[in-house]
Symmetry: C2
């Protein structure tokens, strides 16, 4: 079973949390770790005077912003994690989607919003992932993809994690690690974790206004993976990877 | 024969030159390409107000500068080249020394100068390079290494290219591509290329003040590779890879 682990921005932003999370993951190597960007890209853009626009929780990526996210996600964050894992004895390679063409995407069509250099995933090369995993080499994947025509693209890390786990199907477990205990009935009550959630249950909680905002894209990514046959999908806090909320695919109903 | 190609900052800085250089290299894949940083890191550091200090043509790398070079070398430049090569049909992986532990280094001891987070190479993993090359996968290596204890280090790209070629020995050719026609007797005369150069000849040209400045670290890197048994070592202009100056090792005297 291959663990595909998404770590969110709050983990990336806090060095102590990052190191303790990586230390806890080390015994499960080889794994695939997909990281978000955290505040690093936003901070760098602000320092450079590049205006940032968020729509529905997604970053509009103009040419200057693309440079910023490639620098921070594929450069600083990815390689910092790789070096930390090497120090923990986890032999690791850091990748973007462009490396060995592992994740091919296309630039999102302009609709009501022009997201700029944002990539929607077309294809994940399972054979390339296996090339490393079969040798015991772990993978750290930055949320940067490419279009095959020379252009790098910014892809949401939750979506990317879902696509990678889905490409591995029943051979994979997918865990989203973030700062909350799971999907909560009440974000102010850390004990209100929903133990398991089907798409039908989620749709009712959304209709009732209980699930809102930033959780919706993550939930969509989680359900997509569960419905693609990923063995187990879980959303949980970084220090309790086996607790949290289990996401049920249609086949588990 | 594996081509190890170092491309200098002037190539990285000019998108048209970069693309034409990569296009000319494509038929020789799989190869190992090692890139410098060009002005990108210096420009980013200036924009961020991080003071840059150069000593003997080497960048003093404090903690903030390390972040800048990791972002620009391992992030923006490395992944831009990878995506461009993919578009040319060259299946490529971008690496730093931390990835799969391919280049281990140690932080340079503080002598008259404290270079900060600058790494001197200890070990190049030939088996890791071969893992890719044997599958026809080219490698783009950023001049960032690690110490195995979690710290990334800034390593001179000429030195890194020399170390990588030396690890491959007689199976490798090493070409330094830059903006000049080769090692010149007179930097103002582009027709003054020295066709071949031994260490003894170079020492006389240095004593006579004919070879100076920025050429000396590159020459040292080139001689080290030639003396380590690399089959051919050449310093030449990016658009004439088979011309320029051939560097002679002791064994070719």
């Amino acid at each position: 079973m291959i663990r595909v682990i998404k770590i969110g921005g709050a983990i990336v932003d806090d060095e102590a949390v990052l190191v303790s999370t990586l230390t806890a993951l080390a015994p499960f190597a080889p794994f695939i770790l997909i990281h978000g960007g955290g505040r690093v890209a936003t901070d760098l853009a602000r320092q450079l005077g590049i205006q940032q626009t968020m729509v529905n929780g997604r970053r509009v990526t103009d040419a200057d912003t693309l440079k910023v996210v490639v620098q921070t996600y594929a450069g600083l964050i990815n390689k910092t994690i790789v070096a930390r894992l090497q120090a923990l004895g986890v032999n690791t390679i850091g990748l973007t989607g462009a490396d060995l063409d592992v994740v091919r995407a296309h630039r999102r069509a302009v609709g009501e919003v022009d997201y700029g250099f944002v990539g929607d995933v077309d294809d994940v090369r399972r054979d390339v992932l296996q090339q490393f995993l079969s040798k015991g080499q772990s993978i750290v994947l930055a949320p940067i993809t490419h279009d095959g025509a020379g252009t790098l693209l910014n892809t949401n890390a939750d979506t990317l994690a879902s696509a990678v786990a889905s490409a591995l199907g029943k051979d994979a477990e997918l865990v989203f690690l973030f700062e909350h205990a799971g999907v909560l009935r009440d974000v102010r009550d850390t004990t209100s974790t929903i133990p398991s959630l089907s798409r039908y249950q989620a749709s009712r909680l959304i209709a009732d206004g209980i699930l809102t905002d930033g959780m919706l894209p993550k939930l969509e990514a989680a359900f997509a993976a569960a419905e693609a046959g990923v063995t187990q999908v879980r959303i949980t806090r970084y220090d309790t990877p086996d607790a949290g909320t289990q996401i049920l695919g249609e086949q588990t109903l």
